[in-house]
Amino acid sequence: MSNLDKSTALSLLRQMMVIRDFEETADKLCLRGKVPGGMHNSSGQEAVAVGTLSAIAKDDVIATTHRSHHHTLAKGYSAKSVMAELFTKATGISHGRGGSMHLAEVTEGHFGGNGIVGAGVGIAMGAALGIQHIGDKKIAVGFVGDGGMNTGRTWESINMASIWKLPLIILVDNNQYAVETFVGRVTGGGDLAKRASGFGLPAYNIDGQDVLEVRKYVTEARERALAGEGPTFINALTYRYYGHNVGEKGQYRTQEEIAQWRTTQDPIDKFTGVVISSGFATQAEVDELRASVRKEIDEAVAYAESSPEPEIASITQGVDSGKLGVQL
């Protein structure tokens, strides 16, 4: 816990609380039909998002997955703009065109969630190539789930990043279930870091429920990338508390297993313990923090509810530039 100061600690804790409250609130709203097309709840995975995004620069690039509310909130986007996008409103981060799976703000380095498993690492790898080509001092992070670890193109991209020493971090947000399929049943060799190390890059299996551990590994990986030493693979073991999609009634795991993770491995509980034992806050102050988060999420819902729908007349606007036909 070296270098952890009070303001950083409270910021990390608050961000994780924002994600949890956002997801649990959005989940209920989704069941009430407020989120067209449904959503993927990331509750339980907060430390992976906050540990990673707190360790990179604001204008570093991320590209992510179908489950990306937590990455987007941790990158610093307001609960309002993310909630409004879940509601597919004009004020949403993707102006209602993206929805829950396609949160993005490319000009600021958020290269998007994705509806296709395994697509994010490739896009982040491409961004890292752009960074290297232009010579900027930035990095890219490609988030991928355990499901995406079995798509061939993810490994094509990891290989390409390795041979060209691209400034990339491959961050496996490993919640252990690809929809209903347990990672252990479909992972040849069993060890993802070992698999990755065959591509010639440093690869680690880490505790994704420990925000400080994630932050530490990402910080080191970012330094390597900036030094021109190439990509790093980080497999952060975590757990999702809810189904793959909202409303899922899966029988593929036991209630005992979920309860075990919630009660002994919860990333917010664990880090709250660190914050209190380090003397950064009292329990009462932690409760106040939670109350302020509650208020923020309530405001986000009100904002999303009251926001306008996108203009239907715009449905064909912005498909292409329309300028290829101009005689130069």
Partner: protein, 328 residues
């Protein structure tokens, strides 16, 4: 005695080199990525010598990873570069279809971010069998967000690639393999061919053949043969399939009322179907009879040269189609 040295005009492939060189000289954010580009210069010498002139940062030899190649180009394009991903054969794009159709084509619409990316490949029927002779134009033209160039001359290759590289849209740039070695004049550095502007290759007074790519050659041969029989056929080269020159198609339909649409793709669901259907919707009363489509049989291409030739339109078939429309 005067010696007249007749300068040798560039080939179709050299025209591509010329356009790319000129644009790379003025824009360092253009780079080329693909397999076997540095030494071999690509399978059709389309980038021969460019690596030696511009260096290995501007021309990258990639592993045979089509999905990652396109992802690399797309991510770098989103970041601010203008990559040319050279797949050599368009058949190989099928390993990157998600990157092309789900990702690159849709990013501008969803995220309001241009994707200035050229995907170059050689297309069309020649020897090589079922996996090197696909005509996939309709896949790409069907996809909102993609533009599609199909030049038939060195002049148009250079003029169109320069336009593509001055714009910001994802462009699929298809060069027909049987045209690789043809020679012709090319424009200077200020010569650009806009997308969506067809060209009349041969004027005529009785009927029109609307086509593109290598079929411009077979159509012209058919038109010449028909001239001897007293039938004057106009040959129109579309040059790009999206945007498509609907004005030129409308003009041909209304002027002649007798139209043949020709390409090398299997007829079912092809570009020729699109052109004929749209023409009948827009100008049915101008037609003297049905538009006749000429295309390939519904079968994979065979390796046997005679079988391969038999699968695609012959000069005789095209002549027969013209005679059919002349019979109305």
């Amino acid at each position: 005695m005067t010696t007249e040295v007749k300068a040798v005009t560039p080939t179709y492939s050299e025209a591509f080199q010329s356009g790319v060189r000129e644009e790379m000289n003025r824009n360092k954010k253009i780079f080329i990525l693909g397999t076997d580009l540095v030494e071999r210069g690509g399978h059709f010498a389309q980038v021969k010598g460019i690596a030696q002139e511009f260096g290995l940062k501007q021309v990258r030899d990639a592993p045979i990873s089509e999905a990652a190649m396109v992802a690399a180009g797309m991510g770098a394009a989103m970041y601010g570069c203008h990559p040319i991903v050279d797949l050599n054969f368009i058949d190989f794009s099928l390993g990157a279809m998600d990157e092309i159709i789900n990702q690159a084509a849709k990013i501008r619409f969803m995220f309001d971010r241009p994707v200035p990316l050229v995907i170059r490949a050689t297309s069309g029927v020649a020897l090589g069998g079922a996996h090197h002779c696909n005509s996939l134009e309709s896949f790409f033209a069907h996809t909102a967000g993609l533009s599609l160039a199909v030049p038939s001359t060195p002049m148009d290759v250079k003029g169109l690639i320069k336009t593509a590289l001055r714009n910001e849209d994802p462009v699929v740039f298809l060069m027909h393999k049987k045209l690789s070695g043809i020679r012709g004049e090319i424009g200077d550095e200020n010569y650009f061919v806009p997308f969506g502007k067809a060209k009349t290759v041969k004027a005529g007074t009785d009927a029109a053949i609307i086509t593109y790519g290598y079929s411009v050659v077979t159509a012209t041969k058919a038109a010449q043969a028909l001239e001897a029989e007293g039938i004057s056929v106009e040959v129109i080269d579309l040059r790009t399939l999206y945007p498509i020159d609907q004005d030129a198609i409308d003009a041909a339909v209304t002027k002649f009322g007798r139209v043949v649409v020709l390409d090398e793709a299997p007829l079912f669901g092809s570009i020729t179907a699109e052109i004929a259907a749209t023409a009948s919707e827009r100008n049915f009363k101008s037609l003297k009879g049905p538009i006749v489509r000429v295309g390939a049989v519904r079968a994979p291409l065979s390796a046997n040269p005679a079988m391969s030739e038999a699968a695609i339109p012959s000069v005789d078939q095209i002549s027969k189609a013209v005679k059919q429309v002349m019979s109305y």
